[in-house]
Symmetry: C2
Subunit: 226 residues, 2 copies
């Protein structure tokens, strides 16, 4: 097992999972605290949303020092990532997807962004948690708020960094990117609409990439302060 | 109450609803049969999916003649529309949205399609059922299959009629349109992502219309038989 898998495995050991193999090398005191923090974080995110939950309150609910939360999980985003069992923090994935490093020669930012997202989603490790998040967002108003806040902070804000225009316009542009990518994910992985489910990732990235490019930097029909 | 509202009200009177006001003008025998048909249809769609359910089997389960099902509901699509409590059959809405009649001067097919869909979705009458369908599709594999089959027959196939290319390519093109519109609906009405939820329909249609036009008739990066 690689170090990365070990980190993922450990981070995914919430109280409701039964994967214990990855934890065999840890002291039980550590894993007890880790599980208490994850349980407290799950409850705080559910009750107060992504923006409202704080490391301080989560630590208090878990009966540990805030420094221990930072020690185990780093940022609030990575703690949330562990709670929802995503294998990678979205803002890290987005940063990589937006980096020119790794871009194919002649590949646009939009196409690279689409193909990076598809590469991530093709893994079942990402798809399950993603579907679980969408399911709870559709079932509960509070879960929808949590997912919205999380998407905004971890995905839309970084994507807005490569959009053109003043503040409100770049947020609108990044949100348009989110509509297309969210719709692609739901169509391909949840509803499995025939031609979209059957297409190769490269075909989808080629078709959708120019859409993302236009949303980020092209003409979207507004000229004033949106 | 207008005649249209009356038709809607009557069609929405499944066994689980309590809106009875719109039915006061009907004989109780009619409404009893109507409710039995809706209950049977709900069960048959849930068990066999949209493609698998038949008017004949629904009539048999309701203990009525198939002709009575046709008399009350017309087509299978309109029966499904009544079961999920949509105010209008999607294929009828799509036909109107794709018609050049009603298009603003200089408005492209894609922009007209986007603004027609948004006009429909802005009504709470459509939004509730839409959200309910998505919710069950995310919760149940069978519901996802039913929604996929229904979207394919009632929306993607008609949209494919205005796309260019041979058979497989037009289906892929229409499915790309579905990804964008589905993502827009989820982002605006379910997750309510700030800038997309706050935008005026005309702004969204202007931004998204050219995407739909390119998906339908433009360069989507494939030249061979997709």
């Amino acid at each position: 097992m690689t170090q990365q898998n070990d980190r993922r495995g450990a981070a995914r050991n919430g109280p409701t999972t039964s994967r214990r193999a990855a934890r065999t090398g840890r002291r039980s005191g550590d894993s007890g605290s880790r599980e208490a923090i994850l349980a407290a974080a799950r409850a705080q995110f559910a009750e107060h949303g992504y923006d409202g939950a704080t490391i301080r309150a989560i630590a208090a609910a878990a009966g540990v020092d805030p420094a221990l939360v930072h020690h185990f999980f780093g940022t609030k985003e990575r703690l949330f990532t562990a709670v929802v069992e995503l294998p990678i923090a979205p803002s890290e994935a987005i940063a990589a997807a937006l980096a020119t490093v790794g871009q194919q020669p002649g590949e646009s930012v939009g196409t690279h962004l689409a193909s990076s997202a598809l590469a991530l989603w093709e893994s079942a490790q990402t798809r399950g948690p993603f579907q679980a998040m969408l399911r709870s967002a559709l079932t509960s108003e509070q879960a929808a708020a949590t997912l919205r806040e999380f998407l905004t902070t971890a995905i839309i804000d970084p994507v807005a960094g490569v959009a053109v225009g003043e503040d409100r316009q770049v947020s609108f542009r990044a949100s348009l990117v989110a509509t297309q990518m969210l719709g692609l994910a739901v169509s391909r992985y949840v509803l499995r609409i025939g031609p979209v489910a059957a297409a190769r990732p490269a075909e989808l990235a080629a078709a959708i990439g120019p859409t993302l490019d236009r949303y980020l930097t092209g003409d979207i029909g507004i000229t004033d302060n949106h």
